[in-house]
Symmetry: C2
């Protein structure tokens, strides 16, 4: 087992050090050698997305990003684009839009005015986090040099008392941490992202510069003046994020105060009287454990749930678990789009009522789907329950993946499930003044290798199928390599090579996705029974080098209907194949046909089969689905809003409908799109 | 023809008179004799809801409210409740909530603070208008005495310069008519309602007190300092209403400046740079004739359209007509609920995008449906085209009528088409702090007799069927009585007795509703051909006393489907019988059944007929409809948000569904309701 001392702040940060002096503390040279998973390696290198190795109530440990190599597969291509296009172009846009100047001007190195909204610093930090994860996977020196320069610029403007923010300066300094600013000013949100970015960068490089700045903010500024004591001012996080960052900081520093501060914020301080509309929208300010359903701003709610799950993993507080379980059931039973997106309403970027899941006006912010994935990743770490991995897969392949264009330079803020460009919306854009989503997508794709596996006391969990190599070890220290060969998600066959450093008995937990109708598993050619969709198949045996597992998931396209309470989906179905939700884009259908007028022909006597075909030239290579449909010729455009019902009106002419994966929509000419397609009414 | 001098302001208002002195000008004693329609009667008595007798571009003239007596029918009962319960109880609530004190305190007769939002005065004025219309129909002396006292209290606080408002006084006086206050302060909106109320009261009683105050505001305050001149300040109406009031004032005073001011406001003043979001929301500030679709705040848009139609009827400006036609087509082809309600979004109380007509979250404010009816009444006056009367009937019987409880004391602000009390909404309330809807409903029901008929150069138009007596005259002065005997809308038979003072050739235009499948018309027992739904049937002949028309509209319940672009209605149907849209309330269905799980069985091989039955004991006496349905047993409550589509899942168990008219919903215990019911999928 890997044993190493926790970082103690006292060891390397003198609270009176200047920012410049602090930089000189950066003594760890950048080492990007091939990591063998050896316990003798510096500890920071082997911490995963979450460092829960010592968390008493985490069942699973994260595997570090560097331990998994993703190549030549579905996510390999996406990650390549992320590294080559998205991260560099976003840095240029952050520059061009003054976000970097916000730091420079505080050192007199830029004449420009403060740029962007109060949360603009966070976008720089999320970009830094993306770079951090990317550096964990490899070594693009120019990216590191760029990030290092930016980090030096950030920490240089930290004030002697630890405060760091480029908005609440000069005339605005007097607004710092006032009740109004705590509510809307995103000071703690910014620092939360800074800490996350700092940790990712630290785990990549050992460079503590940004991390130290985060610790100084927390220790010297926050803990000194804010908190539960009568001599201290109360805290309201405003936009949850600091909570999860503080727990991860605690995992990194071992400083109990960081965990306690997270717990205090999650509890809310009853010295602040928070009106209902505020604790609903902000999803903080009352005890997290008093929550009974998801509501309010979706990203805030998801980040709060992340923080609360992190807190649970450290404390085992059952009140937290009970609440998390209630909220999670609310999510999957009444609040989540079939794409894994969350947040139905544009108004307040908020959760709607139960079953309020409009398609056309769906908000489904990219950040909220990411928050959903992050939360479920934590729930999975706590329990090892496959139902959380199912949500991760659904969100990742669909509602998150849709957020970035295939070329990696355009982003969705909203991810609607139905769209008509006639409404005037430009759905993908290179930049938003509130540009939270683009760097958030970048950090997720950068961190993706860390989501494929976990370890447990008794073995290894495989969560996501992807062409990849794992080079890590079991929790007892036994080296273990696992290779996946697959064309997943286009094909349901996965060949898994298992190579422990020596023959060892352990359990290989293979996730059997809940969506699959049929799954065949064979170990060394011998079929395995007890395969159950929606569960991990526990293969307990003595594993030896060159053992092989063959998986075969049935990939027959599936037709899905929603609960009848989802009014927008009634009479409609969604099509899913493997983990991918499909959609119709009008430009793929025969000319002259409007999506408003088509139905999927699901009559039993019709040819109900999908035609499945991989088209390597379309949208980067996708499996296209074709199915018989009906075209109710121009009934939507005859100007009639209401008409007498005629049972045959919808039948119309026969037409073949062509479906593409939802994530790939809006990558060609602007055209109507829909996920939920009417079914044929006989 | 009725010929009388227009009121000239100069004749009876001295601009330097005090409010008290103005009251002494009230010299016309209240006369409530039986009006025979004689041209020698005081002109004010014979003006209809709109006085368009001299409007060059009005095809139809209004018939005064007093000329039509509604008794013992559908609307007779509603109007009785309005008079006995609604108007008196609303007056008490206006008192109890300080709206009357707002006037008293300005005279030192109340110590209370200003109460209510900036538009609170308008609620008093709308109540006054309701009383005015009610007084036009009869003579409840105690109601007149009460109104007179209130009116005296209002005019007593008018300032010497004509300004009148109970909110922008004292410290707030400096905010009067600032750009910000023009946008949000409702000063002109309040005065618009005051003028409407004043005119209704004047037409009932000849009492010019309130009317004079309105004229003073316009002449002495507005025209003196605001308008297009370089020496004047620009105007922005903020909440359209003043436009229609000014045109009606012009019709009453003959003062061309009142019409010109309306035109100026409808045009917008380009000295005010109105940002897009503002001219969308406020529906003013840019030339009305530049509008291409309905958008923004629905009541604002509807009142603006009313004012623009009024302006068109006076000017004949074809640019106005073109715009009105475009907007009207937008309304009926993509923006109107099947109930005649308008305004899809709670957010901004606004029109949605085309076809955005959600049922559960429908706003459908009572005031907006009223605005819709008022607008269509003007379009009908301009053209005599039955399509406008069809919209009036749809809105009146459904989306407006639903706004008041059957007992006349509770009101809907929102009129959703689907409801679940589990959401916590209290849909009917006696009072709203923004209490625009209750007195608006009261004034409409009070004015209803004025909507049944119009005259044209060549005869008489019958718009609405209702047990009633008309006692009026043709435009050539020939006396004419028309009696309708009917149980409409419960029954499709209408017996019409036509009694001209002498045998006269004229055209009797009978509206054949667009909803009817079949209509038989006979004059003196002889069947008439050429009956076309959605048109007026023109019966040109020499009419003599004791002539009789027999109408028989087919009342078979109809199943309606929406345009496929209305996502919320897809796979669902609405049920309509006659002009009444029906709904399901859960408490009428077999116990244990959730509305979420029922479907209407419309298979051709099923018994597709409705069972139609009048239940005199239910909800004041209604026709109940029963139809075979299916119950997909508890599929909505099994906790599953998405499931694999199975074509038989929705079939379920057979069940009988019971429909009641939509207007009568929410008059018993709180229970789920829906207008659009899923159809059975075979």
């Amino acid at each position: 087992m890997k044993i190493r001392p926790k970082i103690s702040r006292r060891e390397f940060v003198g609270s009176t050090l200047s920012a410049a002096a602090m930089q000189s503390l950066y003594v760890q040279p950048f080492l990007r050698t091939k990591v063998e998973g050896s316990p003798s390696d510096p500890g920071w290198k082997d911490e995963g997305i979450l460092f829960v190795d010592r968390s008493p109530h985490a069942k699973l440990r994260n595997v570090p990003v560097h331990a998994v190599t993703i190549t030549e597969g579905f996510w390999g291509a996406r990650r390549e684009t992320n590294l080559k296009k998205s991260i560099p172009s976003m840095e240029k846009l952050l520059e061009a839009n003054g976000r970097m100047n916000n730091y420079l001007r505080l050192r007199g190195k830029s004449d420009s005015q403060q740029s962007g909204p109060v949360y603009s610093d966070s976008d720089v930090y999320k970009w830094t986090e993306a770079v951090g994860f990317q550096l964990q996977s490899g070594d693009p020196p120019e990216l590191r040099a760029l990030a290092e320069k930016i980090i030096r610029g950030i920490v240089a403007v930290q004030e002697p008392n630890g405060y760091l923010n480029t908005y609440y300066v000069a005339d605005r300094a007097k607004q710092r941490m006032t009740p109004e600013t705590q509510r809307w000013g995103h000071e703690l949100y910014n620092i939360g992202h800074m800490i996350q970015g700092a940790i990712a960068y630290y785990r990549a490089t050992g460079d503590r510069t940004l991390l130290d700045a985060g610790i100084r903010f927390v220790d010297d500024y926050l803990l000194a003046s804010f908190g539960p004591g009568t001599d201290k001012q109360p805290l309201f996080s405003g936009h949850p994020e600091i909570e999860l960052a503080l727990v991860e900081l605690y995992r990194t520093t071992g400083d109990q105060r960081h965990l306690e501060l997270a717990g205090y914020i999650l509890q809310g301080d009853d010295r602040i009287k928070v009106p209902r509309h505020a604790y609903v929208y902000h999803f903080c300010g009352i005890p997290f454990t008093s929550r009974t359903h998801l509501e309010g701003h979706a990203v805030r709610a998801m980040y709060a749930c992340c923080g609360a799950t992190d807190y649970y993993m450290e404390t085992g507080d059952q009140k937290y678990w009970k609440t998390l379980d209630v909220l999670w059931n609310d999510l999957v039973s009444s609040q989540m789009y079939v794409t894994g997106g969350v947040g139905a309403r544009s108004d307040g970027e908020a959760f709607g009522d139960s079953y309020e899941l409009p398609n056309f006006t769906a908000y489904g912010e990219s950040c909220a789907a990411i928050g959903n994935m992050m939360w479920n990743w934590r729930m999975l770490a706590a329990t090892g329950d496959a139902k959380y991995a199912d949500v991760i897969e659904r969100a990742l392949y669909n509602g998150i993946n849709s957020g970035m264009s295939l070329d990696g330079t355009l982003y969705c803020y909203r991810n609607p499930l139905s769209f008509d460009p006639a409404g005037g919306d430009q759905i993908r854009n290179p930049w938003y003044d509130t540009t939270c989503c683009p760097p958030n997508l970048e950090r997720i794709f950068a961190s993706l290798p860390g989501y494929l596996y976990s370890t447990s006391k008794d073995g290894l969990y495989l969560h996501l199928y992807e062409n990849s190599q794992l080079d890590w070890h079991l929790e007892d220290g036994t080296g273990l390599k696992v290779e996946q060969k697959t064309s997943y998600p286009w094909d349901g066959a996965v060949e898994i090579g298992v190579t422990p450093a020596k023959s060892t008995e352990f359990t290989f937990y293979l996730r059997i996705p809940e969506w699959c109708n049929s799954a065949q598993v064979a170990v060394n050619g011998k079929s395995v029974s007890g395969v159950t969709p929606g569960q991990y198949l526990a293969l307990r045996r003595r594993w030896s080098p060159r053992d092989a597992i063959h998986l075969k998931f049935g990939m027959t396209p599936q037709v899905i209907e929603a609960n009848r309470r989802v009014v927008d989906d009634y009479g409609r179905v969604a099509v899913q194949r493997g983990p991918l939700v499909y959609c119709l884009e009008q430009l793929d259908q025969p000319q002259g046909i409007s999506l408003y007028d088509v139905s999927l022909d699901l009559r039993e006597d019709s040819s109900s089969a999908f035609h499945v075909e991989f088209d390597k030239d379309l949208l980067g290579g996708i499996v296209v689905l074709r199915h018989a449909g009906a075209w109710a010729e121009k009934t939507s455009s005859d100007g009639k809003l209401y008409r007498k019902y005629t049972p045959t009106a919808a039948k119309g002419r026969q037409v073949e409908l062509k479906f593409i994966p939802y994530y790939a929509w809006a990558n060609r000419a602007a055209t109507p799109m829909q996920v939920w397609t009417p079914t044929f009414r006989a």
